[in-house]
Every structure is written in C-alpha cells, then in structure tokens.
Symmetry: C2
Subunit: 174 residues, 2 copies
DNA sequence: ACAAACTTTCAGTAAATATTGAAAATACAG
DNA sequence: CTGTATTTTCAATATTTACTGAAAGTTTGT
C-alpha cells in the first residue's frame, strides 16, 4: 500500500516560506530577507510592514531592514494603497527579472573584490627571484586572466536588456 | 608628487591569503578553508598539516577539517613525500579545473534543494480556489520551469569533460 | 504648528558558526 | 606486538552574525 501525501495550501505556503528562508543561508542572504521575498512572491496583493511582521512573526526592525534590502536590490517595489497612509510592498514576480538582478548583485559581491585584489597584486612583479615568488606571480596572473573573462561574461549575461543574452544561452545549451 | 606603493613579496603573500580568506565568507566558504586553499595555491612545494598550522596560525583541528573539506571537493590532493611519514598536500593549480569543481559544488548546494522543494510543492495543485492559491501555484510553476533550465545549463557547463563547454561559452561571448 | 501615524535606527541580546585543544583513534616502524 | 608518530573527533569556548524592541526621527493631515 502506498500513501501519497498531498499538502493543503496553508501547509504548502508555510513550507515554501520556511524552506526559501533556510536556502537563503546557502545563497549568502539572511533568512528573514529570503522569507520576506518568498512571502511577497506568492502574495496576490501588496503587503504592509505590519502584514509581513505578522505573517513571519518577526520584529518591526527586522521587517524594515529586510524590506529595505530587497528594495535596494530592486526586486521589491513600493506600492501606494488608496486611502491608507502605510507603505505597501510588492515583489517583482517575473522570475527572469529578479534572478538577473540577484545575479548581478552576486557578481558584484563575489567577483569584483577578487578582480581588485588581483589587480593590486599584479603590480609588484619586477623582482622575482625565488621559486615561491615565481609560483605566486604565476598563480596571480592566471587567476587574473580567468576572473576577467568570467567577469565580462557575467556582465553580458546579467546586464543585457531583457535578459536576452541569458535567454539566448539557455536556448543554445538547451 | 605621486607615490606608487609596490608590495614586497611577503606582504603580497599575506595580503593574498588574508583577502582570499575574507572573500570566502562572500562565497559561503569559511575563512580557514579559503585560506588553506590560498596558501596551497601559491606554494611551490607540498605542505604538511604542521606547515599549514604554522603559516596560518590556526589549530590542528581547524587545519585538519579545512584540508578534509578541500580534499572532498577534489581541489586539493594528498602527496607522499619520500622519507616522511606525514601527509603532504598540494592544491589543484589549474584555475579552470578547480573553478569547475567549485561551480559544481555550489550548483548542488544552491540549486538542487530548490528543485526538490518545487517538485514537492507542484504536486498539490488540484484544489485551487482562492486568489492566494492561484498566485502560489503560478509562482511555483514558473520558478520550477526556470530553475530546471538553469540547472541543466549549470550541469552542462560544470560537468563537461575538460570544461570545454564553459570554454566555448567564453569564446562565444568574449 | 501640533499631534497622530508611520518608519528608521541602533544598543543590547540571542542565535548561529567557527575555532580550539586535548583526548581518542589510527597507522606505522622495528 | 609495542611504542611512537600522526590524524581525527568533538565538547567547550570564542567569534560573528542576526534579531529585537523601544526611542528617535519623519511624514502627513488638520
């Protein structure tokens, strides 16, 4: 006998938000921020800070900071609601749009600092003598070349107008 | 008058290791692990656990765990040194090789759990009634389609024999 | 200009993660 | 088989990161 367990909506919703939050840590995003995005992604209507606090049982400070971060990244927008003074928020629901923005944020965080480091280190290569110094110079040079290529590729993919470059890529490698 | 400050080798080395370690946190890798890789990358000779402890001033436990993790990922190898009972270690120095492996590790960590979550959630879509439920089902469906595409692409890029797919890609988008 | 509604900040606290170091386990030489 | 060198484990501790809640700041309607 095989039982198939199909979740009811409230359970599925909770699981989605909970899991998305936990996955956040794998992505270098803190749990609350990821949960706020998850909540807004599946909300059919704009939500206020109070709505978010209540749904996720988090503090006002936390809710506010999380929303600000998502606004900064450009994957959540403010939305005025007629006859209400509060701010309301909606998520960017198009997965292409928000993924590209996140991709770009991560590229800046993860790749740009490496380029900067390697550029600095590439300068002091005049007086190479020992085996240690040779190996160091070699690795810095190779890393630099490689990182620059990846960096340019990432820019092309994440910054192209309607994500057309990534789309092209997906079609090519489908 | 402009002064240009060119680093001497010991300083450059320290900066490389230190910065690589700090960048680790941006990449979801802990500092010690990233530092051990950095140290081994620029070492012209195999290093023992004691060498690593000494260079990075970290404990034996930490050094051991970091090395094991790098071995697990397949970006550091054991190397026997004649007449010495200790284990010695060398890094994979080819930036293409180790980057592809890291790319694959990250794909597994960051994408696979999302696929699993979405697969589970996609099952319970029979009784859709409210606007909330519709929005939820729609987002799960879109996310699922998108993530699957990206996942397949990542596999093709990171798992292709000599990184030839990524190489092809870089040439195409150069 | 005032007060109520709402948002932001941030010092204090809680939670999660990383590191140590010494004890236990294992591998090796004679 | 025994003693010694080496590696591994893991409870205790330190460090880093996240979260709270109340006070300060801001905006808006009258």
């Amino acid at each position: 006998m095989i039982y198939i367990w199909v979740m009811k909506y409230p359970e599925a919703k909770e699981k989605f938000i909970e899991t998305w939050g936990n996955l956040g840590s794998q992505w270098g995003v803190n749990k609350s921020i990821a949960q706020v995005q998850a909540l807004l992604l599946i909300a059919p209507e704009p939500l206020s800070t109070d709505d978010i606090m209540q749904e996720l049982t988090i503090s006002r400070g936390n809710a506010n900071m999380s929303i600000r971060q998502l606004l900064d990244w450009g994957i959540v927008y403010k939305k005025a609601v007629a006859g209400d003074r509060k701010e309301y928020f909606v998520a960017e629901k198009n997965v292409w749009k928000w993924s590209l923005k996140i991709g770009n944020v991560r590229k800046q965080r993860e790749l740009n600092p490496v380029l900067e480091l390697l550029r600095e280190l590439a300068e002091g290569n005049e007086t190479i003598k020992t085996a240690e110094e040779k190996e160091f110079a070699k690795q810095v040079k190779e890393l630099n070349a490689f990182t620059q290529q990846i960096s340019k590729l990432a820019d092309k993919l994440f910054l192209s107008p309607q994500g057309e470059q990534l789309l092209k890529l997906l079609k090519m490698f489908a």
